[in-house]
C-alpha cells in the first residue's frame, strides 16, 4: 500500500513521448507564418522551428532553439499551463480543437539534449564584471545563466540549502519526478562562471548595500517568501497549515508516505497551489479532500485542465464559499465554517447562508506575499512587491529584479525565466556601456 501510494505520487501526468510519437506529433505543426504560439510563449521560443527540427530528426538542434530563449525549457515543458499559453494559440484549435502538443514535444527535445549532460553554450571571455543574484529560483537561475553567457561573473545568494526555488520546493511532485529540478540546476550551472552561496539570506547574513558595494550590479529574484494570512476569527488551532509549507515538506521528505496528511482535508484557495496540495493529499491517502474557493469556478486561477486533474483524483471542488471561522476541538481543528457567496457582478458578497465543513486538516492556499521588503531599503515597491520597468530595472540604478517578487507579474515559472533573461540583457547592456 505504502509503496503503491508513493508510486502514484511520483507518477507523471504525461509520460514522455517516444521518438515515434514525437515524430507523428511534430508532423501536425503547420510551421505557421509569424506563428501565434511564439507570441503566446512568455519567453518567445521559436516553437515552429524547434518542432520542425524534431520532425527532421534533429532533437538536439530543437533543444538549442528552446534553450536560446528559455534555459529552463525542461522544467517549463513539465509545469507550464500550456493550455492557457502556447497551445491555446495554436491554429489547430480553430481547425479541430486539438492543438499540437507543444509542451510534450518541448520535453522530448530538452530531455534528449539534457541526457547528454552537455549544454550548447560556452561562457564568453571573462568580462571582468561581477553581478550578485539574490535567489536561486527560476528568475535568478535564468538571469545568472544569461549573464554567464556574456562572460560576467555571477554569485548567487540563496537562503535555502538547495537551489531551484519553487521548482524544488513548490511544484507538485507528479510534475517533476526523478529529482529533475536539481538535475536541471546542475545543467544550467555547468556553463561556469556562476558561484552559489547557500544559506545566505538577504536581510540577515547579507544586505543590499554590501552587495551594491561589492558587485557591479544586483539582481533580485527572491520570489515570495511569505504566505497570506487567513482573515478569519479566532486563533489558529493545530492541523491548519500553509499549503506551500505542506508541499515543501512533502517534496523534501525522505519518505513522503510517512507524512500525516490527515483523513478529511479542506483546502482553501483556487490556484495552482491549492490544486497541487489537494491532489497530493489524495495521493498520500487522505480519504476526503474538498477544495473550497470563494469565487466561481471560472474565476479560479487554476486552468480547466488542472481542475480536471483534481477532479479525476477525487477532489471535491466547492466554489462560491468563503471562510468565516476555524472551528477547534481541544485546540485541534475540527471544521471550517463557510458562508456562501455571490460573485455574479464582480464584487464578492456573502449571502448569509452558512455551513460548517468538517475536517481534521486545513491547508491554506490563498496566495503568497512578498516578505523581504525590509531588506530592500531604497528600492521602491508597488502593490507590495518590487516595482520594475520593462527591462527589470528598479528605482535603484544598480539593482534589477524579476520573477514573483516584482509587481504585475504572472507568478509562473516561465514568466520568471523571461524576467531573469530580460534583466540579464539589460544588466549586460549597462555593464558594456
Amino acid at each position: 500500500m505504502t509503496s503503491q501510494r508513493l508510486q502514484s505520487l511520483t507518477e507523471e501526468l504525461h509520460p514522455p513521448l517516444t521518438a515515434h510519437e514525437a515524430g507523428v506529433e511534430s508532423d501536425r505543426c503547420y510551421f505557421c507564418y509569424d506563428a501565434p504560439c511564439i507570441t503566446a510563449c512568455p519567453t518567445g521560443i521559436d516553437i515552429p522551428l524547434f518542432i520542425r527540427q524534431i520532425k527532421a530528426d534533429n532533437p538536439k538542434g530543437a533543444a538549442k532553439t528552446i534553450f536560446d530563449e528559455n534555459i529552463l525549457g525542461g522544467m517549463c515543458a513539465r509545469v507550464c499551463p500550456t493550455e492557457t499559453l502556447c497551445e491555446q494559440a495554436c491554429v489547430r484549435n480553430s481547425q479541430e480543437e486539438k492543438p499540437v502538443r507543444i509542451g510534450e514535444l518541448q520535453r522530448f527535445a530538452t530531455d534528449t539534449l539534457m541526457d547528454t549532460g552537455r549544454q550548447p553554450y560556452e561562457r564568453s571571455a571573462d568580462s571582468g564584471k561581477t553581478v550578485a543574484v539574490v535567489g536561486a529560483g527560476p528568475a535568478g537561475l535564468s538571469c545568472a545563466h544569461r549573464l554567464a553567457m556574456h562572460g560576467h561573473s555571477v554569485t548567487i545568494y540563496e537562503s535555502k540549502p538547495k537551489p531551484g526555488g519553487l521548482n524544488e520546493y513548490g511544484i507538485a511532485a507528479y510534475k517533476t519526478i526523478d529529482d529533475f529540478a536539481q538535475r536541471e540546476v546542475d545543467y544550467v550551472l555547468s556553463i561556469g562562471g556562476i558561484q552559489v552561496e547557500y544559506d545566505q539570506q538577504l536581510g540577515t547574513s547579507v544586505n543590499l548595500s554590501q552587495l551594491k558595494d561589492q558587485f557591479d550590479a544586483v539582481f533580485l529574484g527572491m520570489g515570495l517568501g511569505g504566505t497570506n494570512a487567513l482573515n478569519v476569527d479566532g486563533d489558529t488551532p493545530a492541523g491548519v497549515h500553509d499549503a506551500v509549507d505542506f508541499i515543501e515538506a512533502l517534496r523534501q521528505a525522505e519518505d513522503p508516505t510517512a507524512l500525516d496528511v490527515g483523513r478529511n482535508v479542506v483546502v482553501i484557495g483556487g490556484g495552482m497551489t491549492a490544486i497541487d496540495a489537494a491532489v497530493q493529499s489524495r495521493l498520500l491517502g487522505a480519504d476526503d479532500v474538498t477544495l473550497v474557493y470563494r469565487r466561481g469556478q471560472d474565476a479560479m486561477n487554476a486552468s480547466e485542465f488542472e481542475q480536471a486533474v483534481a477532479q479525476t483524483h477525487g477532489v471535491l471542488l466547492k466554489t462560491n464559499w468563503q471562510p468565516i471561522q476555524l472551528i477547534a476541538d481541544d485546540g485541534q481543528v475540527s471544521g471550517v465554517e463557510f458562508e456562501q457567496t455571490d460573485s455574479a457582478n464582480g464584487s464578492l458578497q456573502g449571502t448569509g447562508n452558512k455551513r460548517v465543513f468538517e475536517c481534521d486538516r486545513v491547508l491554506l492556499a490563498i496566495g503568497q506575499q512578498f516578505d523581504a521588503a525590509d531588506a530592500l531599503s531604497g528600492v521602491e515597491l508597488q502593490d507590495r512587491r518590487v516595482r520594475v520597468d520593462e527591462y527589470g530595472r528598479t528605482s535603484d540604478a544598480a539593482v534589477w529584479a524579476g520573477g514573483d517578487c516584482v509587481s504585475g507579474g504572472e507568478d509562473l515559472t516561465v514568466s520568471a525565466v523571461q524576467a531573469g533573461k530580460v534583466a540579464a540583457l539589460s544588466i549586460h547592456q549597462h555593464l558594456s556601456a
Binding site: 515515434h20 515524430g23 507523428v24 511534430s26 508532423d27 503547420y30 510551421f31 505557421c32 507564418y33 509569424d34 506563428a35 501565434p36 520532425k55 491554429v91 489547430r92 480553430s94 481547425q95
Partner: protein
C-alpha cells in the same frame, strides 16, 4: 447496377484489378490467397530460364516514409523468380485450373535469342494460362545481363522480341515497359510495330532510396554496399499517369490496350488510370503494404463512384480524360483564375502568405488594418495555385475563374475567346 467485369484482350476477369508481377504473385500459396480475397487476376512473378537466378540474402527492399510512417515510396533490388521453372509452371497450371474465372498472365524474361523465347512460350502455353507479359522493365540486376530494362530501352529489341513471341505463340502478348527512358512513346510504338497486343506500364523507376549516413552505404545495404533498385508505390503514380496518357493519345499507338501500373493504392488512383486510357490496372506495392484485403476497398470504391457518376461498365470510363490531355501550347491563355480564400475556413496559419511572399508573387496579405488577416490581392495574383497546394485546410483556398470585366493584374479585358500560344504576339513563330 455497376458491372465491374473486365475483358482485357479478351481475357475475362471479375474486376479490372490484377496483381502485378512481383512477390505477391510468386507462388501458388500467395496467388490462391489473392483470389480468395477477390483479385480479378494476376501476372505471375517473372519466369526465367533454369538454372534459376538467386537473390541477395540480405535486405532487398527500402522505403520512403512520411512522419507517421505511411509508406510513400518503395524500392527493391529483387530479381525475377528464384524458384525452378518447373515448380512455377506446375503451380500456374494448377491455380488456373482451380480458378478458371480469374485472369492468369505469365511474365517472362529470357535472353534475347529467338529459340529461348520460343521454348519458354511453349511451356507457358501448356499451363493453360491466358496470356504472357514480356518483362522489358526491371531496371536492376537483370539489365546487367542484357535483359529487362536493357531490352526495354532499345525500341528495336522490343520490336524484334515482340515479333518472335507473336510468331511462336497464339497467346495474347503484353509488353511491359520501363519508365527509365526519355520518351515512352518510342518503346510503345516499337511494341505495336512488333505485333504486340498491348502494353503495360510502368515497371519500376531506377532509384537509390536513401543513404545510411553512419555507414555511408546506400540502402538497402548488403554488407556495407548498395546497388540502385527500382522505385514504385504512391510516389511514382504521377510519372505512370503521364506515360499512360502519352501512349493513349499518340496517333501511332492510339487504341492499343494499356494495362496501367504504378502506385495504384485506392479506387481513385485506379479510376484515374482508366480515365487516361488504361483498360485495367495492376497493383503491387499497395498489396505489399497492406495485404490482399485492400481489394475490397478498390472494388467497392470504384463501383460506388461509377454508380454516382452514372457509368455502368468499366469500358465507359476508359480514356474519358484522354481528349483533355493537350500539349502546353494548346492551353487557353485567355483563361484567367485568381485564388480566393474562404475566411470562414481559414485557420490563419499564414503559410499561403509566406510562400507567396517569399517564392511567388507577393499576392497575399498578412495583416489588414493591423489585424492578422490573409487575403488575396487580385492585382498581384497570377493564379499559380501555390497557396492552394500548401494550405492545410481542404477547400479553404480555391481558384476562381474570372469571366467578365478586366484582369486587375494586367488591366486587360477578360475575353471569352479561346486563344493559345501558337497565335500569341510574343511567340516568334506565331501564326496569328
Amino acid at each position: 447496377m455497376v458491372d465491374l467485369t473486365s475483358s482485357f484482350l479478351g481475357i475475362q476477369s471479375p474486376n479490372p484489378f490484377w496483381l502485378a508481377s512481383a512477390p505477391p504473385t510468386d507462388k501458388e500459396i500467395n496467388v490462391v490467397r489473392a483470389f480468395e480475397a477477390g483479385w480479378g487476376g494476376v501476372v505471375w512473378k517473372t519466369l526465367g530460364e533454369d538454372p534459376h537466378i538467386v537473390n541477395v540474402n540480405g535486405p532487398r527492399y527500402g522505403a520512403v516514409h512520411s512522419s507517421d510512417r505511411t509508406l510513400m515510396g518503395f524500392n527493391n533490388i529483387e530479381l525475377i523468380t528464384d524458384r525452378p521453372l518447373e515448380t512455377n509452371l506446375e503451380e500456374i497450371k494448377r491455380v488456373k485450373r482451380n480458378w478458371p474465372d480469374r485472369a492468369m498472365i505469365v511474365s517472362l524474361m529470357v535472353p534475347c535469342e529467338e529459340p529461348n523465347w520460343a521454348s519458354i512460350l511453349k511451356k507457358v502455353e501448356d499451363t493453360g494460362a491466358d496470356g504472357v507479359e514480356l518483362n522489358f522493365g526491371c531496371p536492376h540486376g537483370m539489365s546487367e545481363r542484357g535483359m529487362g530494362a536493357a531490352v526495354g530501352q532499345v525500341p528495336e529489341y522490343i520490336k524484334m522480341v515482340s515479333e518472335w513471341c507473336k510468331l511462336h505463340t497464339k497467346l495474347p502478348v503484353i509488353v511491359k515497359l520501363t519508365p527509365n527512358i526519355t520518351d515512352i512513346r518510342f518503346p510503345a510504338r516499337a511494341a505495336k510495330d512488333g505485333g504486340a497486343d498491348a502494353v503495360s506500364l510502368i515497371n519500376t523507376v531506377s532509384s537509390i532510396v536513401s543513404v545510411n549516413l553512419d555507414t555511408m552505404s546506400p540502402e538497402p545495404s548488403i554488407d556495407g554496399w548498395g546497388s540502385h533498385g527500382g522505385y514504385c508505390g504512391p510516389a511514382v503514380k504521377p510519372i505512370a499517369l503521364n506515360m499512360v496518357a502519352e501512349i493513349a493519345r499518340d496517333a501511332h499507338t492510339a487504341g492499343m490496350p494499356i494495362s496501367g501500373i504504378g502506385g495504384v493504392t485506392t479506387w481513385r488512383d485506379a479510376a484515374e488510370f482508366l480515365s487516361l486510357g488504361a483498360s485495367n490496372v495492376q497493383v503491387c506495392t499497395a498489396a505489399m503494404t497492406y495485404g490482399f484485403r485492400i481489394i475490397e476497398e478498390l472494388t467497392s470504391g470504384l463501383s460506388n463512384w461509377m454508380e454516382e457518376a452514372g457509368y455502368e461498365r468499366v469500358e465507359d470510363i476508359v480514356g474519358r480524360a484522354v481528349p483533355n490531355v493537350k500539349d502546353w501550347q494548346e492551353l487557353n491563355l485567355n483563361y484567367i483564375a485568381k485564388a480566393k480564400i474562404n475566411q470562414d475556413l481559414c485557420i490563419e496559419c499564414g503559410r499561403c502568405h509566406v510562400v507567396c511572399e517569399d517564392t511567388s508573387h507577393q499576392a497575399i496579405t498578412s495583416s489588414v488594418n493591423g489585424k492578422r488577416h490573409f487575403e488575396v490581392i487580385d492585382e498581384e495574383c497570377v493564379g499559380c495555385n501555390l497557396c492552394v497546394s500548401v494550405c492545410p485546410v481542404d477547400q479553404c483556398i480555391t481558384m476562381e475563374q474570372m469571366t467578365e470585366g478586366t484582369d486587375p493584374r494586367t488591366g486587360q479585358p477578360i475575353s471569352s475567346e479561346y486563344s493559345n500560344w501558337t497565335s500569341h504576339p510574343n511567340n516568334p513563330f506565331s501564326n496569328g
